[in-house]
């Protein structure tokens, strides 16, 4: 009871002190993995030149997380980033000296201009509505941006939708002129712009039989009038991948050329405004591909010959000439195919880098070609650099920047994007920095508890001689004086472990991982879809270890590993090193899907099966040759077993030993497995059970027992279950000493349904939330919610007997406004107070499981959210708050007291006050003091994971999405540790004062007593 009142007393606001910001919490802003498929989005170096002559370089990129970002090449920090909305995909960016322009949305619906260095948004304008845009495959097709030069310097030419060209003022956003292809229905799709002072060339492809034909239109830059238009006799089969527009913008004598590959031969066509030229052929060699490496404006591009060797071709006044052949670049088993990339130096000279991996030397090599050096004969500088392939996979993209400090010396900076999502900068062969951007795409994450620090290591030696024992004990005792001093000091000064101090390890990293006094430090094990598993220190966000997944047999054909579920199979409480099992789906490039398990030591990342060495890729275990339907962890007192169901509903266990089989056999009668079944669009929930008998195949096969169909307009969006956290109290004692017993059916699951993705969005579509008894399919709770323009954006969480969901209400009733709503639902046993059915222990066959009383209340919520989760503590005594991630990048906690569905509509009575109920208010207050992320901008949070600390009062919060953020919260305040505000000085002062008072008063009293004796 005392604890109870303590909790209530502590229910007032818990908020962060300014000194704790950055100590309790950490935030890792990220940009995502660069989008390297197209030149229009891939990373490039950019050098901003100021009028004073000074320059500043940055790395610009668009990423898979839909972010346009600028990275500082010196230290790898983010100079700026602009996070685009998910439905506004960035299609292309283009840079000029001081600005960066970006097109986004379908067909290039939105144009934005940014300051190249500061990242400030300068201009935003909508070119067409996204619905009216044409969707191309790939999506970068049909759009292009180009900056005007000379008298057109203030203009920007934007091609959208494959047929609309606009000249836009860079400063005001005003459209100077617009041109639309007269025959929009024709099969010409324009995709490239070339702006010269005399004409704008629009290059497109026209569909013809079996291949494409190049189509060119020339327009006047000032008025937008068509000068000429026509097809170039050509036959292109691969779209724009083997078409390069070359020009030398430094000289106007050489007219631009369009170069393409036709039947393995390079053809070219000089561009003149009147389009009077004839196509010609470069004779001599056969080619495999043409590559625009980013220096085509300087007249250079790379052509790869049939045998794989690369050569540089330059456009000059003498026409197109091969100026360099890269030595030893033909395809060979000794090395990987080369990646070519172009860059510039401060003076604007082009450089072309060739980067490849040498299988023989197990090192990466780079050859930098500079055409202007060695008296114009060209110079190649080569070096190797120790790229760690076991840690970062393979190099998938290279951007290069060069400097030429003295003749015959070329210094280069290579910006690498790797297959695991890391980005790296190498200056010559020196590694500068690495950013693990794969962490912007975490699929599953779990917090794993750390073991205590071992003080004495007595490894249970059976027989030990006296000398050895003495030595061991002396060595153990050598720390004793320090311990004694510490003990005394702690006693005197009161410097106890503080609950609001950082738990990050000191610089001494040689010590093995161990937990802190209160268990705030854990390992976050996170798996990304870029084939990497990370162990992250929850104290400071540092990556402790990382492993790259091996593909197994699929390494021959290539493939991808997609993490599905992560289970902690062994915890510290089992007395050994904690272990995790990651269940993944491996999609090989030949179309086969397998289920692969990775069993890993959570503290070091070592393979728990002992098969893969620490410095190599992590090999998994193929458990199911086929896709996975469901995986869950079977927890019993003695063991934790991962149970997997394949597509034939066969049961696979991991680990599969006699003991686990026995455990599973024992658990079979109580297992109820609800699964999503049916084709997409008509999915239903089907309950499954597992028979006692093993099938002839030697495996258990689950059979369906019930089916819960949803209305034809609804399709299952998400299924969520209650966390397995302990529940401290089975009921809620009311003010009048009656009790509401919590409905704690262990099979309870939540389902969010919405209109099927295959059906076009309609305004009448509805969404719904269900609570279903997963053992027999009974609907316990059901609410129909309005959809926002045919889309369902319902976020829900279930904890104990409490369901909270959040949605957007677009229906405007009388006197009502559109807005976000949050609904809080509590389930209690029976028909009301004091009705007890023991729902947590009931058999699923009992009719009592459906007897439930529901309290619900809806509130207006100020903002849209991306996800929500309830806090979790080790014993469940502490109140549960809801942690929400706002759409605008903040993580906030919403106190349970505000979400209590039993908040009275009138002034609370004394009984209600005793329960600490506050009067109903339709709006949940948006209190900035409860923003856990304070000044951080935590972008695009996808999930919030909560985990208990050792302290009952505190819950750890880890949010991932684009950014990573971690903090700890105490919903009922830290009632189990001495308050930070506790003032030992004050206490000592008071006691000292009292002692002094006694000291002073005692003789006085004694004197008085004596006098009383005498005179009474």
């Amino acid at each position: 009871m005392r604890l109870f009142s303590l909790l209530l007393g502590a229910a007032c606001a818990y908020a962060l002190h300014a000194s704790e910001a950055g100590v309790l919490d950490w935030h890792k802003p990220q940009l995502g993995v660069p989008l390297i498929q197209s030149h229009a989005t891939a990373p490039t170096f950019h050098r901003r030149e100021y009028d004073t002559g000074a320059t500043r370089s940055t790395i610009l990129t668009v990423t898979q997380s839909n972010v346009l970002a600028s990275v500082n090449p010196a230290n790898g920090s983010i100079d700026w980033r602009y996070v685009f909305d998910d439905d506004d995909r960035i299609i292309a960016y283009h840079k000029d000296n001081d600005v960066v322009a970006a097109l986004s949305g379908i067909g290039g619906a939105n144009l934005r201009l940014f300051d190249a260095i500061e990242g400030d948004l300068l201009l935003e304008t909508r070119l067409h509505s996204p619905e009216a845009g044409r969707l191309f495959e790939p999506e970068t097709l049909g759009t292009a941006i180009s900056f005007g030069s000379e008298e057109q310097a203030g203009n920007l030419f934007v091609l959208t939708d494959g047929h609309v060209l606009r000249s836009i003022d860079r400063h005001t956003g005003e459209v100077k002129w617009g041109w639309s292809a007269p025959d929009q229905t024709s099969l010409v799709v324009y995709s490239k712009i070339l702006v010269t002072p005399s004409a704008i060339y629009l290059l497109g492809l026209a569909n013809s039989f079996a291949s494409y034909t190049l189509h060119i239109s020339t327009l006047s830059p000032t008025t937008g009038e068509v000068i000429a238009s026509g097809n170039v006799p050509s036959s292109v089969t691969t779209g724009f991948t083997d078409v390069v527009v070359v020009r030398d913008h430094r000289t106007s004598e050489v007219e631009p050329h369009i170069v393409w590959l036709e039947d393995k031969v390079i053809k070219y066509y000089p561009l003149t405004p009147s389009l009077k030229a004839k196509p010609a052929v470069i004779k001599g060699a056969t080619y495999r591909s043409l590559q625009d490496v980013g220096v085509s404006a300087f007249g250079q591009f790379v052509a790869v010959q049939e045998d794989g060797s690369g050569r540089v071709i330059r456009l000059s006044s003498e026409g197109l000439k091969v100026i360099w052949d890269f030595a030893d670049s033909a395809t060979s088993p000794q090395r990987s195919d080369a990646i070519y990339s172009g860059g510039l130096d401060v003076d604007g000279h082009p450089y072309i880098a060739r980067v490849f991996w040498s299988h023989a030397f197990r090192q990466a090599s780079a050859h930098i070609f500079a055409s202007h050096l060695a008296e114009g004969k060209g110079l190649v500088t080569g070096f190797t650099f120790p790229f760690k392939t076991a840690e970062h996979g393979i190099i998938s993209h290279v951007a290069v920047d060069a400097a030429n400090p003295e003749p015959y010396r070329v210094l280069s900076r290579l910006f690498l994007t790797t297959s695991t999502g890391a980005i790296q900068l190498w200056q010559h062969d020196q590694h500068q920095w690495t950013r693990e951007e794969g962490l912007a795409d975490i699929r599953v994450a779990e917090l794993v508890e750390l073991p205590e620090r071992k003080i004495a290591s007595h490894a249970g030696v059976e027989q030990e001689f006296f000398g050895a024992r003495l030595r061991r004990q002396l060595s153990d005792a050598q720390d004793f004086p320090q311990y004694a001093v510490n003990f005394v000091r702690r006693f005197v000064t009161g410097s106890y472990a503080s609950a609001s101090a950082s738990v990050a390890p000191s610089t001494n990293t040689t010590e093995p991982l161990s937990r802190d006094t209160f268990g705030f430090r854990k390992v976050i094990v996170a798996a990304t879809s870029h084939g990497k598993l990370y162990g992250i220190d929850s104290a400071n966000g540092e990556v402790l270890w990382s492993r790259v997944f091996g593909l197994g047999w699929a390494a021959q054909v290539g493939g991808q590993i997609i993490p599905a579920k992560l289970f902690v199979t062994r915890t510290v409480n089992d007395g050994e090193v904690p272990q995790v099992v990651l269940v993944t789906q491996r999609k090989a490039n030949n179309g086969l899907v397998d289920t692969v398990l990775f069993h890993v030591d959570a503290l070091t990342g070592d393979d728990a099966t002992g098969k893969s060495p620490a410095n190599d890729v992590l090999q998994g275990k193929d458990v199911v040759s086929g896709p996975l339907v469901e995986a869950f962890l079977l927890k019993t007192a003695s063991a934790r077993v991962v149970v997997l169901l394949d597509e034939f509903l066969q049961v696979h266990l991991f680990p599969e030993t006699d003991e686990t089989l026995r455990i599973f056999e024992k658990a079979v009668p109580a297992l109820r497995i609800p699964l999503k079944t049916g084709p997409p669009g008509q999915r239903q929930l089907t309950g499954h059970q597992i028979p006692q008998k093993v099938e002839f195949t030697g495996r258990y096969i689950a059979y369906p027992t019930w089916t819960l169909p949803f209305p034809p307009t609804e399709d299952i969006r998400t299924v969520f279950a209650r966390p397995t956290d302990p529940v401290a109290s089975l009921g809620k004692v009311l003010g009048n000493r009656t009790t509401l017993y919590k409905y704690l059916n262990p099979n309870l699951i939540g389902v969010v349904t919405g209109p099927s993705a295959s059906v076009p969005a309609s305004k009448s579509a509805t969404c719904a939330v269900y609570l279903v008894d997963g053992a027999k399919g009974t609907v316990i709770y059901h609410a129909v919610l309005p959809s926002a323009e045919g889309a369902c954006d319902v976020k829900a969480t279930l904890v104990e007997n409490w369901l909270v969901y959040h949605y957007y209400d677009s229906e405007v009733g009388p006197g009502q406004a559109k807005g976000y709503r949050v609904v809080s639902v509590e389930l209690y046993e029976g028909r009301g107070i004091d009705d007890k059915t023991l729902s947590s222990d009931l058999t699923s066959l009992s009719n009592e499981t459906t007897s439930v009383s529901i309290h619900e209340q809806s509130y207006v919520f100020a903002r849209g959210i991306t996800t929500l989760a309830a806090t979790s503590t080790s014993y469940g005594i502490t109140m549960k708050d809801v942690i929400v991630a706002h759409e605008h990048g903040q993580i906030q906690s919403v106190p349970r007291r505000f979400l209590d569905p039993r908040r009275p509509k009138q002034k609370p009575t004394t009984e209600e006050m005793e329960e600490w109920l506050v009067q109903y208010d339709p709006v949940i207050p948006d209190d900035p003091k409860r923003v856990l992320s304070h000044n951080y901008q935590v972008a695009k949070t996808r999930r919030v994971v909560t985990s208990p600390a050792l302290l009952e009062s505190t819950s750890l919060v880890f949010a991932y999405g684009l950014d990573l953020f971690s903090t700890r919260v105490a919903p009922s305040n830290t009632f189990d540790v001495l308050s930070e505000n506790f003032n030992k000085v004050q206490l000592v002062f008071t006691i000292g004062g009292l002692a002094l008072a006694i000291f002073v008063v005692k003789p006085m009293v004694a004197r008085k007593r004596l006098r009383e004796r005498w005179y009474d």
Binding site: P814, G815, K818, Q937
Partner: protein, 210 residues
């Protein structure tokens, strides 16, 4: 440093507006001097169906939204209040927003402060009690003997009652309390009160001698 400014609920400001392009501007002021202080910000209409980014000069524009050619009427709205009737105040169009203050996410740490300690009601009561204890003897000394007598009796009653309550003898305590209600009439001088008044006398004696 991102969006910590009270640009209140713009999303709901214009739910009922119908007109052509929507234009507005963020007025930079000392609270929010530039776009760096504001961070990446967008102005949202109707659950993000339309949104416009705030540019460096503070302006935001969203074109092609409305079909009507009359100017939109912009009214403030606070979530949780009824929408109709709409707020009587109209905001200027194009909309001009300015920051009212910076969100403060932190609470100051409580520190030891003697004055604050004595502002605590508990502390004040304690002080009051202390002062009373000190002043009591002087007060008693100056009291009229008759009033004094009466006071003593009442005090003795109360002490008795308290002691009986403490010892758990509720019935007797209660009856005493009831009896004390009749007191004033029979209060002149009862022999039954001898013992207790004696105790009181002793105490008052102490006071006198001081």
């Amino acid at each position: 440093m991102r969006i910590p400014l009270t640009l209140f609920a713009l999303a709901s400001t214009c739910v009922s507006a119908l007109a052509l392009d929507f234009k507005g501007r963020v007025q930079w002021n000392t609270q929010c001097p530039d776009l760096k202080a504001l961070g990446q910000t967008k102005v949202v209409l109707d659950n993000g169906k339309w949104s416009g980014g705030v540019t460096r000069d503070g302006s935001f524009i969203r074109v092609d939204i409305f079909e009507s050619d009359s100017l939109p009427e912009v009214r403030p709205y606070f979530p949780g209040t009824p929408l109709s009737p709409a707020a009587p105040a109209t905001l200027p169009y194009p909309l001009v927003l300015s920051a009212r203050g910076r969100y403060d996410y932190f609470v100051p740490r409580e520190s030891f402060n003697v004055i604050a300690m004595f502002k605590n009601p508990m502390m004040m009561m304690m002080l009051g009690a202390g002062v009373l204890v000190l002043l009591m003897p002087t007060l008693m000394k100056n009291m009229d003997p008759e009033v004094m007598e009466e006071f003593k009796e009442r005090h003795a009653k109360m002490t008795n009652l308290q002691s009986s309550l403490q010892s758990g003898d509720l019935a007797s305590g209660f009856s005493q309390l009831l009896a004390s209600g009749d007191e004033p009439k029979a209060a002149a001088s009862g022999p039954s009160k001898g013992a207790s008044s004696g105790g009181a006398k002793q105490r008052s004696g102490k006071g006198k001698r001081r």
